[in-house]
């Protein structure tokens, strides 16, 4: 399932995938895979992404429909 919340938060911060990847110390393809829903990140990476985008884990990774 696509992570549109993360994509929107990144766009709001005006970060490219490459910039977010640099901050989180991962490759651009990993950020792309998370946004596409092809890869489930570990909690450590989730926290790093949340810190970079100034969001909470709930805001980015909690799916209310489930």
């Amino acid at each position: 399932m696509k992570n549109l919340k993360m994509k929107a938060a990144r766009a709001a911060k005006d970060f490219s995938q490459e910039e977010l990847a640099d901050i989180c110390n991962v490759s651009r393809q990993t950020i792309s895979a998370i946004e596409k829903g092809d890869y489930n990140p570990t909690i450590n990476l989730c926290i790093a992404i949340c810190k970079a985008l100034d969001k909470t884990l709930d805001e980015l990774f909690w799916d209310e429909e489930q």
């Binding site: 766009a11 995938q17 990847a21 110390n25 991962v26 490759s27 651009r28 792309s32 450590n44």
Partner: protein, 178 residues
């Protein structure tokens, strides 16, 4: 000096040189990320399984009439290793887990092209000298191994170029979506 000796010396010099360069110039902060490590773990397993299968195939071929007379056993071992490395590298390349985050693929591509040219030179000079890849009716390491390694690196180069082009197209697509 025979072709075998030249091949071994060039291989050892290349491997030692690359290892030294990798240690000296490596960026300690440049690491594979968690997704890449997962992919590489799977690639190792696939590579190992391919090696076992390739060895079993070679063991079976060894029992066939005429195989031992036409193929050198050292070439067969290198062929099995080449299959295993090819599976590992292609799986990593196609899943963006071959290069670390700050690695420059161009450097690896240049290295691959140099290897292809060296191995190609060995194969072509052998062909010119003997008229075929066989030596005394046997496929040996000298032209056979060079052909394998050259082919292996050539496939890697093609896979990296294709993957880079696909990634660039996807990146542009994603930027346009935003």
């Amino acid at each position: 000096m025979t072709y075998d000796q030249v091949f071994i010396i060039v291989s050892v010099v290349l491997i030692v040189g690359v290892l030294i360069a990798a240690v000296v110039y490596s960026d300690k902060r440049n690491k594979f990320d968690e997704r890449q490590l997962m992919i590489r773990a799977k690639a190792y397993r696939l590579g190992f399984a391919s090696l076992i299968i390739a060895d079993l195939v070679i063991m079976y071929l060894d029992t066939l009439k005429g195989w031992k007379e036409s193929v050198d056993s050292s070439f067969a071992i290198v062929a099995a290793l080449a299959v295993s490395f090819l599976v590992f590298s292609l799986y990593c390349i196609l899943n963006d887990a071959f290069f670390q985050r700050k690695d420059n693929p161009k450097e690896y591509l240049i290295f691959c092209v140099i290897v292809c040219v060296c191995e190609g030179y060995v194969v072509i000079s052998h062909l010119i000298e003997n008229g075929s890849l066989y030596e005394d009716g046997k496929l040996t390491m000298t032209p056979g191994g060079s052909l394998l390694l050259g082919g292996l690196f050539l496939i890697d180069v093609i896979a990296i170029i294709i993957k880079t082009l696909v990634n660039k197209a996807r990146e542009t697509e994603e930027e346009e979506e935003e």
